[in-house]
Amino acid sequence: MTRAGAARGVAALLALLGGAPLAAAPRAYVTNQGADSVTVIDLADRRVLATVAVGRHPAGVAAGSSTGDYAYVSNPDGNSLSVIDLRRARAIAEIPTGASPLGLAADPLRPRLYVANWYDQRVEIVDRDARKVVGAFAVGRIPAGLAVSRDGAWLAVANRDDHAVQLLSLPDGAQSARIAVGRRPFGVTLSEDGRLLFTANVKSDDVSIVALQARREIARVRVGDAPYASIHDAKRNLLFVTNQQSGSVSVVDVGAARELLRIPVGDYPEGIDYSPSLDRVYVASWFDNALYAIDPERLAVEAQIPCGDGSRAFGDFIRE
């Protein structure tokens, strides 16, 4: 055994004994819809650390820094959220929700989660401490992706069948604005500075770029077939977009509002996220059961990490 190998062995042993390393590397929490599980990946080592059993057909995920010691996944066919204890890498609770929870987002200011109920024109409010639904916002038709602004001032909801994004003021939804975008918006994300909002429009094969101050769509950029979700790389002002039916990731120059190229990945790429510390984009491929690492500088796939069946990872799935 080499010295490095021995060190890794010791680290693995410590992890087994329950002592997670203090300076933990970024990790991905990938929902595996066909396996009722979440794959936990050490992104620096590109190594699977654990597979966590969760609820039925998990899809959405909220694992970003605002969720503290926990990550949450939505189980659309179990009508629940699973709560994952990050240190123990185990699901420790299940929170009942309304019908078919899918999109999931954490509030950075309040101990809250927002959960889109696919069938019910509702976004539920979950109290993370009490671990229960404490209220709901009425929204448009088929709410899909959710995003909360960094300052916690409002929540964006992609109302897929309204072809619009709805902005709700937080904490109470007292103000609501509707912004028309492309056909069937699914994933919704924000630029790092919070000035732009992006929707991936499944039916019109494009992404909408929305100026939040002006509350209107300022550009629509054609991408691949059936775009699903996107992530903004602030360093380069690029938007990376998963194209479900093309098996590719479109790279969009946000400033110029045009597509630069498509990077082939596995079939049905879905969830996508960015790690600032590693400067890499990660994409879950639903058909290939894998997470792809993309180098945003070279604009090429660098690695493929195996996950469970039907890896989806819809939401903020990386914890720095």
Binding site: D77, Q245, Y268
Partner: protein, 176 residues
């Protein structure tokens, strides 16, 4: 009261047609064939040849050949049987693979929506080959609480039956 109910139902219809459940289904089937890959590929290479190699498809009417965007209509079971309309999305003869989607189905034979699949032949390097069919789709029922004939299980069952019957017959034809 009744009129009002009808109105509500009518209003709900377009929404139902547009939506689907949130859990996409996946079906993948492979079959090892004791025949060279080129021979198997020749049987399926033509997008509309499915009328010849799939036992459930009695007739295929196609336009556009093997170009992306080519269309075909499958007649299931009998010449005037239920129809399924499909479109070619990707075609790569060198890699012996193509991808197509269903543009219009008949839920009595295939209760799916947003269906797309790949059909491929792999050269095993020893004179044999493997034919693979894999698809992603949602059940046709777009609301909650689907009836049994349009739930996830019914959709999966129909697709699995289609793949297994097709691949078994392809093997039979190729090994003749």
């Amino acid at each position: 009261m009744h009129r009002r109910l009808v109105l509500i139902l009518l209003c709900a219809l377009p929404l139902v047609a547009a939506a689907h459940g949130p859990s996409r289904q996946k079906v993948e089937r492979d079959i090892k064939i004791d025949a060279p890959a080129a021979k198997v590929w020749a049987l399926i290479a033509d997008f509309c040849s499915i009328g010849q190699w799939h036992p459930g498809v009695v007739k295929c009417e196609g336009t556009g050949g093997n170009e992306v965007g080519a269309k075909r209509v499958l007649f299931i079971g009998k010449a005037d049987g239920p129809k399924i309309e499909e479109e070619l999305q990707m075609y790569d003869a060198a890699k012996m693979t193509y991808k197509y989607r269903i543009t219009k189905t008949d839920v009595t034979v295939l209760p799916v929506t947003t269906y797309a699949s790949f059909l491929s032949v792999l050269d095993n390097g020893d004179g044999t080959s493997t034919a693979s069919w894999k698809g992603g789709f949602y059940r046709s029922w777009g609301k909650n609480n689907p009836p049994p004939e349009q739930n996830d299980e019914a959709a999966r069952k129909a697709v699995i039956g289609t793949y297994e019957a097709g691949l078994a017959n392809l093997k039979k034809l190729a090994e003749q």
